[in-house]
Symmetry: C2
Amino acid sequence: MKNFKDMLHKYAKLAVDIGVNIQKNQTLVINSPIECAEFTRLMAESAYKSGAKNVEVMWHDESLALIKYLNAPEESFKEFPEWQIKRLNDLVEKNAAFISIAASNPDLLKEADPNKIAISNKTKSTALKDYSNHIMKNDVAWCVISVPTKAWSKKVFSNSDENEAVEKLWNNIFKIVRADRDDPIKAWEKHIENNDKKVDFLNNHRFKNLHYKSKDTDLTIELPKDHIWCGCGEYNKAGTYFVANIPTEEVFTLPLKNGVNGKVKSTKPLNFNGNLINDFTLTFKDGKVIDFSCSEGYESLKKLLQMDEGSSYLGEVALVPFDSPISNSNIIFYNTLFDENASCHLAFGKAYSSCLKNNDKLTLEETKKLGANDSLVHVDFMVGSPDLDIIGETHSGEKIQVFKNGNWAF
Amino acid sequence: MKNFKDMLHKYAKLAVDIGVNIQKNQTLVINSPIECAEFTRLMAESAYKSGAKNVEVMWHDESLALIKYLNAPEESFKEFPEWQIKRLNDLVEKNAAFISIAASNPDLLKEADPNKIAISNKTKSTALKDYSNHIMKNDVAWCVISVPTKAWSKKVFSNSDENEAVEKLWNNIFKIVRADRDDPIKAWEKHIENNDKKVDFLNNHRFKNLHYKSKDTDLTIELPKDHIWCGCGEYNKAGTYFVANIPTEEVFTLPLKNGVNGKVKSTKPLNFNGNLINDFTLTFKDGKVIDFSCSEGYESLKKLLQMDEGSSYLGEVALVPFDSPISNSNIIFYNTLFDENASCHLAFGKAYSSCLKNNDKLTLEETKKLGANDSLVHVDFMVGSPDLDIIGETHSGEKIQVFKNGNWAF
């Protein structure tokens, strides 16, 4: 193994310089579990060295969240502090950059009351709707990364002891995010270039719909006329290029809200706010989930679909080859950031309006008219498999193979 | 040693039930270093069990603060986020209770630029002036406690290794806060009763001034006509009895701002925002420090005295017998919460206006007219020694010995 500390530093620099591409005198916000303090401090130091004026860390502790679920009365989940909303809006206003560490324990909320969880999620999503809008419109630079925690590592490597599990997860993450390369920044520049070729192919064809076909799936997804496929990086309002996910292997756009029909089966477990949903099949009619079943997490899935009108419609279509580096690691990460980049996926809920032409000139209502779904949530789920074929149909009726046996067909 | 976990739980309960005396449906705010997460979670659980509606933790990390001092530009210390002010004011407004964990590394800021530290302190004190006012007027219930951190423990027990030092500090704290007793709550009730006897004695005599005399000290402190001596506990605006410091061994009031004359020498090091100030002698004329010297931390002391007009005047007079339990431990804690409760002390800066009669009906201006000092800071320093005598003079000219050889004379 290469020097651990060296890779840590490279990874921290990657998040700051490639992820949010920090600019001189900018404020960096880091959303960090307290358990990830060591890595968060490295990112802070790296950001100051790259010219950041200030680094503001929003610490949180999932053990404390669990204590609240197990002990606090239901009413307390209906309140969301005003200052928190003000804090985020002020930070967006002054063009801060946002790094979030996704590292939750997939089994955290097993014993918690699903009702309290649903109330809490709805309260939070409602309160932070404006902030989410800014993020999903790419008004500011943002990036999601992951850092191993003990509980998460043990879930992924359940046969190892805690320390060994953490070390294994670190080593896998280093590989996947290319922090093990001599020059990770250069490696990312090359990766972005390759990914852009797929984006260009799809944008040149401007498909009317995609037809997904595998043993358990037969689904047609129409795309809005003005859809745009996006790849690794995008530009924020200030014109800064940033990479919103590290790792990212996907090419994605938005579906036409009412244009999804057929049946699709999930191919990886979904960790939804501390609860696992497994082996679920969804039936769509005119965009809406009209039937579903699963082997685990039925109540959680039901609550998710019922959260609001938009949560039972799709908001994202993402293509990832089955032979991606993450997929080839053969590890189930129980963490959307990794699992989504190992598999073709879809998302319940809000669409990225940045995937519509001239998005910066459109109001929310106008994006809806063009077919973009709106919701308090955006939750990815995996549908990629080694037998998945995807055929794209153009507006002139031409059919072109996009995926064959789980991988890019071209 | 008694069961460690058992004492931890008792200490957590003490902070919640005796410290802030949490009430049904109240919000508890805990100001906690991320390193103290385990104990903070215990307090949270204890608070919910005692009926709290919500527990909000304000996490902070001193390593991150140091990274900022070492890397951020000076301008960034002139800014204080609006949301933070709103957060605290909203919490005061809804009568939240506030527990703070004081556990800083006394040597943290040794390498930091004193200028940045001074700017940062002034920015913070100015921004939080309203909040500090509410706290010092006892509008809400608040309590300061301490929890060992590695760096602090190593400073106190420098000859032990890190784990041993932490364990030693825990054991000392458990003893000092009475968490090692079978029934710590009952022990505290008795302690409060004893302390109240001293308070009554002093309030019955209504001294005009106190004269401090020891080998290095010869100081006269006049007291405002309307002063009140306070002890362990006080009542907040809502009428809840709370204990603002755990431990507390002191009886305290405020001095007449312009009525301090003579010379006083410190008897313990002062940890001021991450810098130690040692062996300092202050000369007062009509309340103001007109001359000072010290063996360590001259610049820090100078910056403190120059912070604003009030920081070179006194705001507190506190009496603690030299034979107090903390003092008898013969440990220098490098932490004001412990060191101040092992020694008679004074404080630079803002007076507790709760030590004036009818304080709840007085405006800030009226308290000033009555002799209360005002400042952005309130910084305790220790002056108790085994040869300290204190003579109280009543308005009728009667002289009564209050302290003899460092201890209560009655």
